[in-house]
């Protein structure tokens, strides 16, 4: 473990927020509306709260094993072979998410900004640009996250301010009309949009102030919950529920409807897409970093720089494996979501429990 790398607490909070908020935020209102109509906000709050125990567990794992990083803890708790299998699951998950992000980004850019540019070029340039950042260590990614964190929040605030004049508050009402049986489906959708906080597994060992870490990480999740809620409600006030259900990216539609005062800029969707690429960038950076770090650990390489290079073609290839958007969505909701549940919820719990049990036995 490299002792020179240091991440401050505010950077960790930013890392959580910027990693979680990414590709999901554009489509979240749509998916929630499909699952739970106007009551999607319940799913946001509930699944946000569901992540908090996991965060506590992750924090506790590192408190139980001070001075060790995730890989060392995993190896000592689960043993080499079992842990390597875990790492391969992690790698599969991260590569799937990375490929998904790159492909969807390409599709959105092609749909909104560059109608005639080949999709492959867009995706490839995106992966390569991020590879430039990812060859460095997690403290650099934390710095970037802090900058995009400011951008994300500022951007959301501006969007909300601009949306106020055209807001129709009656759209939000009536609340709590949906069937309780729809709730699990809504939570499944919303929970996946909270994926990303597992970056803590790689960040916590380098935190400067370990005492207040739990509080900081939870505050990060709270910020995300609030942002998601506000954006969902803003979408509701701007569009009818039918529109939200039929448009895969309702937030872009909202941006399209907004006119800047004085009509200096119209059709903000292009601009929003461009800025959103920067928000995605920090998500992709943590995902890419995590996958290359895991790959280098599986092969016991000292530096993860080589794996970053190896993963460029791999992610690119995986991104173009599905033929169309429908296939992508099928794979995501049938395979990757369950992979995410294993990676985000199950493995940290197993690590924690095994560590505790082993300690008991030793005593």
């Amino acid at each position: 473990m490299n002792k020179d790398i240091k991440i401050s607490n505010i950077q960790i909070r930013a890392l959580i927020v910027s990693t979680i908020i990414g590709i999901g935020v554009l489509g979240l209102p749509n998916q929630l509306a499909v699952a739970m109509e106007k009551d999607g906000w319940i799913a946001i709050i509930l699944s946000g709260l569901l992540t908090i125990p996991v965060i506590l567990v992750i924090n506790q794992i590192f408190k139980d094993n001070p001075g060790k990083d995730f890989f060392e803890i995993g190896e000592s708790n689960l043993g080499k072979i079992l842990f390597t299998i875990c790492l391969i699951i992690y790698l599969a998950y991260y590569l799937a998410v990375g490929a998904y992000i790159s492909r969807v980004l390409g599709e959105i850019i092609k749909g909104f900004l560059l109608l005639e540019t080949p999709l492959g070029l867009i995706t490839f340039t995106f992966i390569v640009s991020i590879a430039y950042l990812v060859v460095s260590e997690i403290d650099i990614i934390a710095r970037i996250s802090y900058m995009t964190y400011g951008l994300t929040i500022g951007f959301a605030l501006i969007l909300i301010l601009l949306a106020i004049p055209g807001a129709d508050l009656t759209n939000i009402l009536p609340m709590i009309q949906s069937d309780i049986r729809q709730l699990p489906e809504g939570i499944k959708v919303a929970l996946f949009s909270f994926a990303g906080f597992e970056v803590l597994l790689f960040a916590i060992p380098f935190a400067e102030d370990k005492k207040r870490l739990t509080k900081t990480s939870i505050s990060g999740i709270v910020i995300v919950i609030v942002l998601y809620l506000v954006l969902f409600l803003v979408t509701l006030t701007q569009l009818s529920i039918q529109q939200i259900k039929s448009d895969p990216f309702p937030l872009l539609m909202v941006a399209k409807l907004i006119n800047l005062p004085g009509y200096f800029l119209q059709n903000l969707d292009g601009l929003v897409t461009a800025i959103w690429v920067i928000i995605i960038f920090s998500t992709m950076a943590s995902v890419y970093y995590s996958s290359s770090k895991i790959l280098s650990k599986i092969f016991r390489a000292k530096s993860h720089k080589a794996s970053v290079l190896i993963l460029i073609p791999v992610i690119y290839f995986l991104a173009f494996l599905p033929k169309n958007v429908i296939q992508i969505n099928n794979i995501m909701s049938n395979v990757v979501i369950y992979l995410a549940m294993i990676v985000i919820f199950l493995i940290p719990f197993i690590l924690f429990m095994v560590g505790r049990i082993k300690r008991r036995i030793r005593q």
Partner: protein, 502 residues
């Protein structure tokens, strides 16, 4: 070679003549002192580096006039004649006895005078340095409306004293070092001992002692040698001509490196925050300073974004503009035969040529270049229909914005980056610009300045200490009760406002 001096003055002189062979500006003045024994002495110095009047009045005259020495024998009766000269006779303020050749020859080369006495294997170094220098003038690059008007000169002694005048504290340290095997350039590290972070100081010392080069002609060469990433277009140290800026930086816990022969003093570490500060900000009202800061930050974006945005919007996404603006842009480009990217590169190239010509040539010809370049070419290009008037406006704004940034090197970095953005915008439109921003942000985040993140305080370090008060805006002086956090100062409190704080 580092041999001791010889006993015989003949041998010593022969040695000096050998070392300084073909150096016709070396002057050896031989004297015979004393009525009885006529002790042979000689003064060795280099013409032009020393103050001759001073040497004549306080060394030669003293040696020849003093009654005491006339009756001395070689060995003297209480003390030796050498000791007597050192302690009783010479009027000079700074005298050192040396027995080895290397320091003596370095001293002669720096403008000191060597006094040799027959039968003594030692030399007296008399400080007579007066290198040719200009007086203290107003800095050329960082003028202020209000604030001190003195600027650094090429002499390290004058420069360090100008900083000392502003920090009358024994804890201000001036550590003299030498770099350059042949140039033996003096440099001074200045810092306040109980504020500066020891790790930072060790890092600076380590990097300077690792330098092995024949000559350091200017502080910029030293800067390139010790900065973290020498391949980056962005400066990782700050430089300034203003002693008040240096003093302020030292009070913040930073380290100043004064290099002889250079009027630019280096400051480490530098961050995105400090590079946007100008000393004028601290001498005007905080409201005005904040306003100026805002426009400066805006200028930073105007420096590299408008041109590429123009290219991207006209070539790829005209739909993003409001309808009225589209018609206007389309009408202004109706006669232009080139695509926007060619038009932009054409104008940017012209602008760079005009700028380079204007920088090298000053005075009346410079004005001509300004008129021909700015007015005639711009006017003619638009009338001929080669470029659109909008492009001319964008290039003009971009150029003005480069001068808004206090640090020349910093704005030059963005000027270089701008060309990359043009290429990206030409190929990938708005998405290309976004990619450019991603790469730029990544590059900046990867940079360190002596172990301090270059992107401070925007990347987290120093936020808790309130560094944003003095970067994004400039708060009133009463709000700066703590030193900025990015330097990890040992002594944090800057101001006490009431009894409770003490």
């Amino acid at each position: 070679m580092s041999a001791h001096l010889f006993n015989s003055i003949e041998k010593n002189l022969a040695y000096i003549r050998e070392v300084f062979r073909d150096n016709d500006d070396l002057i050896i003045r031989e004297l015979e002192v004393g009525d009885i024994f006529n002790v042979r002495m000689c003064l060795v110095f280099i013409d032009g580096l020393i103050n001759k009047e001073y040497l004549t009045e306080y060394a030669i005259e003293a040696l020849l006039r003093e009654e005491e020495i006339k009756s001395f024998t070689l060995k003297g009766y209480k003390t030796s004649i050498f000791e007597a000269i050192k302690k009783q006779i010479l009027y000079s303020a700074d005298i050192k006895a040396k027995a080895k050749w290397d320091p003596i020859i370095d001293a002669i080369l720096s403008g000191d005078t060597l006094l040799l006495v027959d039968e003594f294997p030692q030399g007296l170094i008399i400080d007579t340095r007066e290198p040719p220098s200009r007086g203290i003038q107003e800095p050329q690059t960082e003028t202020v409306v209000r604030g001190p008007r003195d600027g650094f000169t090429e002499s390290i002694k004058i420069n360090t004293s100008m900083i000392r005048r502003r920090i009358k504290d024994t804890r201000l340290k001036v550590k003299m070092l030498k770099v350059g095997r042949r140039s033996k350039t003096d440099l001074a590290l200045m810092y306040i001992d109980d504020i500066v972070d020891k790790k930072l100081l060790d890092e600076v010392n380590k990097r300077i002692s690792a330098i092995d080069i024949d000559a350091v002609l200017d502080s910029s060469i030293l800067e390139n040698l010790i900065e973290d990433n020498y391949l980056s277009p962005f400066p990782q140290m700050e430089n300034t001509e203003r002693p008040d800026a240096v003093a302020a930086a030292i009070y913040e816990g930073r380290i100043a490196i004064v290099v002889d022969n250079s009027p630019f003093v280096l400051l480490a570490p530098a961050t995105l925050g400090t590079l946007m500060q100008s000393s004028e900000d601290y001498y005007t009202s905080w409201v005005e300073a904040s306003l100026v800061r805002f426009f400066r930050q805006l200028g930073l974006f105007l420096l590299f974004l408008p041109g590429p945005l123009y290219v991207a919007l006209t070539a790829y996404h005209p739909g993003l503009l409001p309808s009225k603006l589209i018609y206007f842009v389309a009408a202004s480009r109706i006669n232009v035969p080139f695509p926007a990217i060619v038009e932009a590169v054409l104008m940017e190239t012209t602008m760079e040529l005009i700028r380079e010509a204007g920088t090298r040539i000053s005075g009346p010809i410079g004005t001509t270049i300004g008129i021909v370049g700015g007015l005639i070419i711009g006017q003619a290009a638009v009338e001929a229909g080669i470029v659109s008037p909008l492009m001319i406006i964008i290039v003009a704004v971009t150029t003005i914005a480069t001068f808004v940034i206090p640090s020349y090197e910093y704005s030059a970095g963005f000027r270089i980056v701008k060309f990359g953005f043009f290429i990206l915008a030409g190929f990938l439109g708005l998405y290309g610009i976004t990619l450019g921003i991603i790469i730029l942000l990544s590059h900046l985040a990867k940079l360190n300045s002596f172990g301090i993140p270059y992107t401070s305080p925007y990347s987290g370090l120093g936020i808790d200490e309130g560094d944003l008060k003095d970067t994004l805006v400039k708060g009133p002086i009463q709000s700066f009760r703590m030193r900025p956090g990015f330097t990890h100062p040992k002594n944090k409190r800057r101001m006490r406002r009431d009894k409770k704080d003490e």
